[in-house]
């Protein structure tokens, strides 16, 4: 089954049901299928191309275009609307895409990029064409291509196949209990594995998807929960933490009918998890661990009886995870390797990156360990390790500890050059609103909770920590 099969199943079962709501617009499964077919037929002009780039803000049109390109048997190259000219140039060159499909706003933006000579088509213009000629699609094994955000290294092209999508979607549904009666609120960008996985899941079970442009307007998210009688919400941890700044009574009221909040594996502060356990009377907060290369490899449901607030959960069905270390012991920290039908076979035109895949195992670059009950705990990226005088320190451990201090909104730890130790730890901290916390209070907390070689040697209070759309820290930008 591919995504178009998911859609067809919904047309047969409940074609008149609303599939997507986007502000004042809504579309039924029947209408969505019709628009997708029309889109596929109308991009006949691009028939020789095997890959088409797509860039747009969240909208029904975006989903029509995404499914339409797939329906025509081509690979969708998904691009962030925030992309820089240089990054776009590099991605187009690497992907060998000759055409960009986008909304009007993006067309205006890209048209001003002098280095971009690629042909640009507007989604709405394509949909207005009248082409009754049915295009025969040659199903492609691959569905989409995403260039990873590159938090620590050069972006790599990751191609995701239809079979990977099917495997992952079924695991999501099995582990998180999605059904056709759900109404899913999605304020995530759709050019990323997290947001796409949510679309795929809604299409698979036939639930209604409510799209928001982004998660910057917290009031809009809360009001949408009430307005649309939302049952599931997908957001990054930072959004969840920010929502906690509202009055507890108000939050509880808005979240009273929520059965599931799903977030991604960017470290969630323990105190945030504990607070949502209290807030969600009829549901659970859940997270997962995954990469674009190996989506949803674990799942963690933070139920009241499980005190592992810092775990990303157990392996997904039919996914294997191994911890590689000198001790050959999964219970000790080591490099995380993943194998399963959710793992890519190879990167896009990148022989060097392909060295991270062998015998079906993907070397993730993440480190972690399992506890005795099989719960995975992440300890950071192997290339983020700080070496303080020979002692290896994972930034995440310091960050998690400091984020638990009252008055700290966010924190990031990283290595700085030191004449004696080689490296020591620097900590950049964002204070909570109205917080008067000072550096010595943070140090006092650290010395009580961390080993002495993990104590930051320098602390700065900052206004912002550079992050990707999905909340991953851009470590190469830290100073």
């Amino acid at each position: 089954m591919n995504l178009i099969d998911f859609l067809r199943k919904n047309v047969e079962n409940h074609g008149d049901k609303v599939a997507i709501i986007d502000n004042h617009k809504e579309i039924t499964f029947f209408q969505l299928y019709g628009e997708v077919e029309k889109f596929s037929n109308n991009i006949e002009i691009l028939n020789q191309e095997k890959i088409i780039s797509l860039v747009s803000e969240n909208s029904i049109s975006f989903i029509i275009a995404y499914l339409g390109i797939i329906n025509s048997g081509k690979i969708v190259h998904l691009i962030s609307p925030e992309i820089s000219e240089m990054n776009l140039f590099n991605q187009l060159k690497s992907s060998e895409s000759k055409n960009i499909i986008c909304n009007q706003l993006m067309k205006n933006k890209i048209s001003n990029f002098d280095s971009i000579k690629t042909t640009i088509f507007e989604i709405e213009e394509i949909l207005l064409k009248h082409n009754n000629k049915k295009v025969k699609s040659n199903a492609n094994e691959l569905a989409y291509l995403i260039y990873t955000s590159g938090t620590t290294s050069e972006p790599k092209g990751v191609t995701v196949s239809h079979s990977m999508i099917e495997f992952t979607t079924k695991n999501i549904v099995k582990m998180l209990g999605y059904s056709s009666s759900d109404i899913d609120l999605l304020p995530l960008p759709l050019n990323h594995s997290f947001g796409l996985g949510c679309i795929h899941t809604s299409l698979y079970v036939g639930s209604t998807l409510v799209l928001l442009k982004n998660a910057s307007n917290l009031e809009e998210i809360l009001e949408s929960l009430k307005k649309y009688k939302i049952t599931t919400l997908a957001v990054i941890p930072a959004t969840l933490t920010k929502i906690l700044n509202f009055k507890n009574k108000k939050i509880k009221k808005y979240f009273s009918q929520i059965r599931l909040i799903i977030t991604n594996s960017t470290a969630i502060p323990k105190k945030t998890v504990i607070q949502y356990k209290e807030i969600l009377k009829k549901g659970n907060l859940a997270t997962y661990y995954g990469l674009t290369e190996a989506s949803r490899s674990t799942f963690m449901i933070f139920d009241k009886n499980n005190q592992r607030e810092e775990s990303v959960g157990k392996c997904s069905p039919n996914v294997k995870i191994e911890i590689v270390n000198e001790e050959k012991n999964n219970l000790k920290i080591g490099d995380i390797l993943i194998k399963g039908d959710n793992v890519i076979k190879k990167y896009w035109n990148n022989i060097e990156a392909d060295k991270n895949i062998f015998d079906g195992w993907l070397k993730t670059g993440d480190t972690g360990y399992f506890d005795k009950e099989g719960y995975l705990f992440l300890k950071g990226r192997s290339d983020e390790i700080i070496n303080v005088g020979g002692e290896k320190v994972m930034p995440i451990e310091i960050e998690q500890s400091v984020k638990n201090i009252s008055g700290v909104e966010d924190a990031v730890a990283f290595g700085i050059v030191h004449e004696v130790f080689g490296q020591t730890i620097k900590l950049n901290v964002i204070k909570s609103k109205n917080s008067d916390i000072d550096k010595s209070q943070i140090l006092s907390h650290c010395i009580k909770n961390l080993e002495k070689f993990k104590i930051p040697s320098k602390i700065d209070f900052v206004e912002k920590i550079p992050k990707t759309d999905y909340g991953k820290v851009k470590r190469f930008m830290l100073k």
Binding site: V388, G389, E391, E419, V420, F421, T424, D438, K439, S440, L443, S444, I447, K448, K452, F453, I455, P456, S457, K458, I459
Partner: protein, 82 residues
């Protein structure tokens, strides 16, 4: 600006934070690094980091290396605060 008494209190408290097993009665301004059970290079770094944060100063590497007792740290801090 801290006066000498305040500076002394702050430095004493730094030592109790960095050496949580240090008994109040065992603290001495003259007691040297070699007489502390766990004053290693990391503890040295932590003493300096705390002092820099508490007094809003920045010690040079040479000054940092010279510190072998609470009294040494006090003298350097006082130089900065003078």
């Amino acid at each position: 600006m801290n006066n000498e008494h305040e500076s002394k209190e702050i430095i004493k408290n730094i030592f109790f934070e960095v050496f949580p097993n240090l008994d109040k009665n065992d603290f001495s301004w003259e007691k040297e690094q070699k007489d502390y059970e766990n004053w290693d290079s990391f503890a040295q770094l932590n003493l300096i980091t705390f002092a820099e944060a508490k007094f809003n100063i920045s010690l040079t590497l040479e000054e940092s290396i010279e510190i072998k007792s609470a009294n040494d740290l006090l003298k350097i801090v006082e130089q900065y605060l003078a």
